[in-house]
Amino acid sequence: MNRVLDGFSGKLRTGIHVCRGNWSKREDVLITGDYQPLVDCFREMNVDQLVLEYATPRAGELEIIGRALSDREIGLGCVNPRTDVAEPVESIVDRAHEALQYWSPEKIFLNPDCGFGCFANRCVNQEDIAAAKLKSMVDAAKILRSDVL
């Protein structure tokens, strides 16, 4: 990864997205485990932002990356792209407040855990639900911005 990024620092924002699979809506067949074993790898990697899953309990605690890598931006996965109901705004706000224990507001980005359709023939969601999930994140961001001012 660093060989790809060498020399590009400061020219654009770079990120790495690491998840646990997004090919099935069945949680039991996707990978489980926290980010602890990847902390050193992330630290070595010259990326600005870590785009990670935090809407599924399979991803473990936010604290692990929060304590070790608060110098990076966090793309906080806060909605599950594989479920059929948009997350309540409050749950996203709560998760972001947890992130605020480790990161400054400028470093926190809100995004789903993964794409809504990584594999064209195996999209894990449909458009209206995906749009509703985006709206939940936008509403949460408004509340969060007023909370920290």
Partner: protein
């Protein structure tokens, strides 16, 4: 602060899925497909703007999947369904069982297998970024498959071995291709590029005694 964005991909409509299939079968020209995809991307952008996101994505709507799409842009690759790959793996029973266990559809998930010397024939994402610029002034996130994912997925010894001999040699060309793309994206004024490395978690969470995924 608290910028709202996405990881990259958006659900495909039935019309777009039909278009992807027709193009793959050679029954639709690139131009016809791009006209269809342009319209779908316009709708995807409008939905994001209506929702009020801060950084938009194009939904990866031109892509078959988030890494297989490079087979259309890079010489020396061949798009293969997992079902086709089943023919080449040594332990067929184990591979088939893995696909079943993982609930992965063998015929509709495709892999960009390396079958010769790799060369970037056209931009992977820079053209998509240029199109997006015509639709919105908002910042854009561009997504690319990461070097580890690509190297691991593209290497199938029986196909890739004759061109490269060994996987790390092919990896050097994967790195070069991604650097060329990054260069072009910077020239296009890209503000945010995200590399997807979904299988890094598998490396640390699935030991040899456990399963590996199809990627």
């Amino acid at each position: 602060m608290f910028s709202v964005t996405q990881v990259g991909s958006w659900p495909r409509s039935p019309e777009l899925l039909a278009g992807l299939r027709e193009k793959r079968m050679g029954r639709m020209t690139d131009q016809q497909f791009n006209e269809l995809a342009d319209g779908e991307i316009r709708r995807c952008i409008q939905l994001q703007l209506d929702a009020g996101v801060d950084i938009v994505v194009d939904g990866e709507l031109r892509r078959d999947n988030f890494y297989s799409f490079i087979s259309e842009k890079v010489d020396g690759t061949r798009l293969m369904s997992l079902a086709e790959m089943l023919e080449t793996v040594e332990d067929k029973a184990a591979f088939e069982e893995m696909l079943q266990t993982l609930d992965a559809p063998a015929f509709s998930i495709r892999n960009p297998t390396c079958v010769g010397k790799l060369r970037r024939r056209e931009p992977l994402a820079a053209n998509d970024l240029r199109f997006l610029r015509t639709l919105t002034d908002k910042p854009v996130k561009t997504t690319l498959p990461g070097p580890y994912l690509l190297t691991r997925a593209m290497w199938v010894t029986s196909y890739s071995g004759s061109a490269y001999g060994d996987k790390p040699v092919m990896a050097d060309d994967v790195v070069s291709i991604l650097r060329e793309e990054l260069e072009e994206l910077v020239d296009e004024g890209a503000e945010f590029v995200q590399f997807d490395e979904p299988v890094l978690t598998e490396v640390v969470h699935s030991g040899d005694d456990k399963r590996r995924t199809f990627m």
